[in-house]
């Protein structure tokens, strides 16, 4: 117990002094997760929006599947991506296993269903409300889609924030496909896990504080966006 007090103050010193090791890990974490969310958004949002407005056989099953993918266990995705990227795997020739690129791919796979599922919900609700009016005004499918996306802009933004929160805080996939290599693939979550088990509490605590603060800030932002949208746009 006696070590916690000093560890906390040491962690505070590391954060305040922008300790190079800490900064490098935080920067890698943000870079990997932001890239992953960008890819997941570019893939997931159009998929979600299309499912929202399209009518096709098997649509209900697709929605159930999509919602089930929300709860995808991170280690499962990690294992899957590991097998795909490993030397003997179908994508082994790219040689990106144990690189940040592998972590981006894995997190993108983890987050894309979240973004797709939430976008589908938001766009579908708007579509139900707008369909006849847009039809009456003569909007074609493309114009209707653009209008829906624009009118859902706030809920879509909070969806992206939620996706980023999931990506930056998960440990299972990055551990498996990144390998937690010091200076190369060590991100906040894997570093916390490792340093804690090694007993290096100051670094673990420093990263933990930053991670918690980040997640808190993401949620606060999402809440603020939602409130702003409600108040100003109804």
């Amino acid at each position: 117990m006696g070590t916690i007090g000093p560890a906390v103050s040491q962690a505070a010193v590391m954060i305040a002094g922008l300790d190079p090791q800490l900064v490098r890990i935080v920067a890698l974490s943000l870079g990997v997760s932001l890239s992953a969310v960008l890819i997941a958004t570019l893939v997931g949002m159009p998929i979600g929006a299309s499912i929202a407005v399209a009518r096709f056989p098997g649509r209900q099953a697709t929605i159930v599947l999509l919602n089930a993918l929300l709860g995808l266990p991170a280690v499962g995705v990690g294992l899957l991506v590991y097998l795909l990227l490993s030397r003997a795997g179908p994508l082994g020739e790219f040689g990106i296993l144990f690189t940040p690129a592998a972590m981006v791919v894995a997190q993108a796979i983890l987050v894309a269903p979240i973004i797709a599922a939430f976008s589908r919900q938001a766009v579908e609700d708007a579509w139900r409300e707008y369909r006849e009016q847009l039809d009456s005004l003569g909007a074609g499918p493309f114009q209707a889609a653009l209008t829906l996306l624009w009118d859902c802009r706030f809920s879509l933004l909070t969806t992206v924030l939620a996706g980023f929160g999931r990506a930056v805080a998960e440990v299972g996939t990055v551990m498996i496909v990144g390998g937690n290599i010091d200076g190369v693939t060590r991100v906040m979550t894997t570093a916390i896990a490792l340093e804690t088990s090694k007993g290096d509490l100051p670094l673990a605590l420093g990263l933990g504080i930053i991670l918690m603060g980040l997640v808190l800030a993401l949620n606060a932002t999402a809440h603020a966006v939602t409130e702003f949208a409600k108040r100003h746009y109804g």
Binding site: G138, D151, R153, G234
Partner: protein, 240 residues
């Protein structure tokens, strides 16, 4: 009168509409031409809103045909507009809601703004132009919807209870606007169950009940001497 390329008359031939295992429109045949403002009157649940949607082409009939005076089998949608019973406001300002319709109709951006402002002013809402449409009151939203339809200068304007949410002053304003739109050459086809409004605005009445047209007559004749028992009961304000 308009050029021979007019959309009208609108023809319904033995139109039926079924949903949820019920026959909601039960064999309606109608021809609606220019001649003044047409008001579709009937009690709650008579099928008025469904009939209007069938005419506007938002619903396809289960049987029968809805046709316009067009060479090609087109629905002539861009020459019609509709104001819904429940206004649908996009997440943007009142003015932008009106301009949105114009943009879809392919009217130039600069002209959009002037026309949208003019339409808002015509429904007495110029002071709310910059406000978010979805936080306006129900009556204000209803008037934005009317302005959005009006700005398109349609040949045919469908109105589904456009004054149902309005206070007396706003009702007067909107009714005057509707009359003005009609006088400017737009065919008004309006649904209401408000007798006073029907008397004030209608040139002719189409009375419907349980998905059927029971009576069609000039407004004066309809109110002074309805021929169907149901219409007489309805005019007396009794339950059908």
């Amino acid at each position: 009168m308009r050029a021979p390329t007019s959309l009208l008359p609108l023809r319904l031939e033995n139109v039926r509409f079924e949903a949820g295992g019920r026959r909601i429109i039960d064999g309606i045949s109608l021809e609606i031409g220019h001649g003044g403002r047409t008001v579709i009157l009937g009690p709650n649940g008579a099928g008025k809103s469904v009939l209007l949607r069938l005419c506007h082409g938002l619903l396809a009939p289960s049987a029968g045909r809805v046709t316009w005076n067009l060479q090609q089998p087109s629905n002539g949608r861009h020459r019609q507009a509709m104001v819904f019973q429940r206004p649908v406001m996009l997440r943007r300002s009142a003015l932008a809601n009106v301009a949105y319709g114009l943009k879809l109709a392919g009217i130039g951006a600069r002209e959009d703004h002037a026309r949208a402002s003019k339409a808002l002013a015509a429904v007495g809402l110029e002071h709310l132009a910059g406000r978010s449409a979805r936080v306006l009151s129900g009556g204000e939203q209803q008037r934005v919807a009317l302005a959005r339809a009006w700005a398109l200068e349609p040949e045919v304007l469908f109105l589904d209870e456009p004054t149902a949410n309005l206070d007396p002053a706003a009702t007067r304003e909107v009714e005057a606007a509707i009359a003005a739109i009609g006088d400017a050459g737009t065919k008004i086809i309006m649904v209401t169950h408000d007798l006073g409004e029907a008397k004030r605005l209608a040139d002719e009445i189409i009375f419907i009940h349980e998905g059927r047209v029971l009576e069609r007559a000039g407004a004066e004749r309809f109110f002074s001497a309805p021929t169907s028992r149901e219409a007489a009961v309805f005019i007396n304000g009794e339950l059908l």
